[in-house]
Symmetry: C2
Subunit: 208 residues, 2 copies
């Protein structure tokens, strides 16, 4: 394997990001360190406070981050502010424009939509916050019932834990040899393999 | 609710802890901030590097940590060193002795066993590392097939993702009103509700 075939996932931290939206996917991605690098980028190099209070170190500031290969935007309480932060949204849009894949977990899809990165696409989001999230973007086809949605180079997942299912499917896709399914087995995680099966759409009243 | 009824979970970080062992449980516990406090303790106050490289801030050093209510020890590559670290094991044993509950995720049970905290108890651990983990402790009844094991005031889970199932069951127990099951639904996590159902015991060859 040549160095150039290593994929890089850049996870965008912000004040009030949701812990499991980041560390569920990161746990799975890190099981393939020879083929996937993960970097955490934040508003500044240093610690960033999660929704839950725990602080995580982002070694790279947004302004210093190189052109991304795969972008992952988590959800969390901080997204309520981010969707109105024009400077952040401008940075995210221009930084992500040439990425191979732009992905989100949970209410991270509201941020992608607010940045104009989901125009003309199908997407999903957290089911308890769906009414709020789906109010963002101009021409986004919001799916009220989906564990995750893949639409070309945009992948969006439902709430929190759904990000792990999407990540495993994405690893299977980009590495091509069942790597995501294997990573989940190492983490003793029973995956949801069907993107269209969404038990939380019903429990949240989005479908009857 | 009086302040004294708030439960406190102290999660023990160490160099080489496994991210999801910590942040899966923390995600669920944090959904009940009025009734459960979570604190991260580390070798020193400051950042601690996970198995995966990402660094997390532990605001409290071991030496400064108050008497714990509920202890949670995660697994990770760093446990291979910790089980030989006499000073750490001495601290963990004496600090945990009067805790209401002592719990672990994944290979964290090897650390509890090495500290003498599982003597005379039934326990489990990560299934791919089971042969190694179960070599620790003197008189521990290691269960090769269990999603998690509850034995009085000692709770131990199988690998990584199993820690979330154990945590939800523990929240249901200590809060008494289905709080863990509800937290999992908020996080869109489909729980394993049966402690004795362990699909990874078979796939790891521990049972036929």
């Amino acid at each position: 394997m040549t160095a150039s075939s290593v994929r890089r996932v850049s996870i965008v931290l912000f004040d009030g990001f949701e812990l499991l939206d980041v560390f569920g996917p990161l746990e799975l991605l890190s099981i393939e360190p020879e083929r996937i690098e993960v970097e955490l980028v934040g508003p500044r190099a240093g610690s960033v406070a999660s929704s839950q209070g725990a602080e995580v170190v982002a070694p790279i500031a947004y302004a210093e981050a190189g052109a991304p290969d795969i972008v992952l935007v988590p959800g969390g309480a901080g997204t309520r502010r981010l969707v109105h932060d024009a400077a952040f949204l401008d940075w995210l849009r221009s930084w992500s424009l040439d990425a191979a894949l732009v992905t989100s977990v949970c209410t991270g899809s509201a941020v992608l939509a607010a940045a104009g990165l989901l125009e003309g696409r199908r997407a999903t989001s957290n089911k308890l916050a769906f009414a709020w999230a789906s109010g963002h973007g101009g021409d986004v086809d919001w799916a009220p019932s989906a564990r995750w949605v893949e639409d070309g180079d945009r992948w969006t997942s439902s709430g929190v834990a759904a990000g792990m299912d999407m990540t495993a499917a994405l690893m299977d896709r980009i590495l091509g040899d069942g790597a995501g399914t294997r990573a989940a087995a190492v983490a003793e995680l029973e995956l949801h393999l069907d993107a269209d099966r969404d038990p939380f759409a019903r429990s949240s009243g989005l479908i009857s």
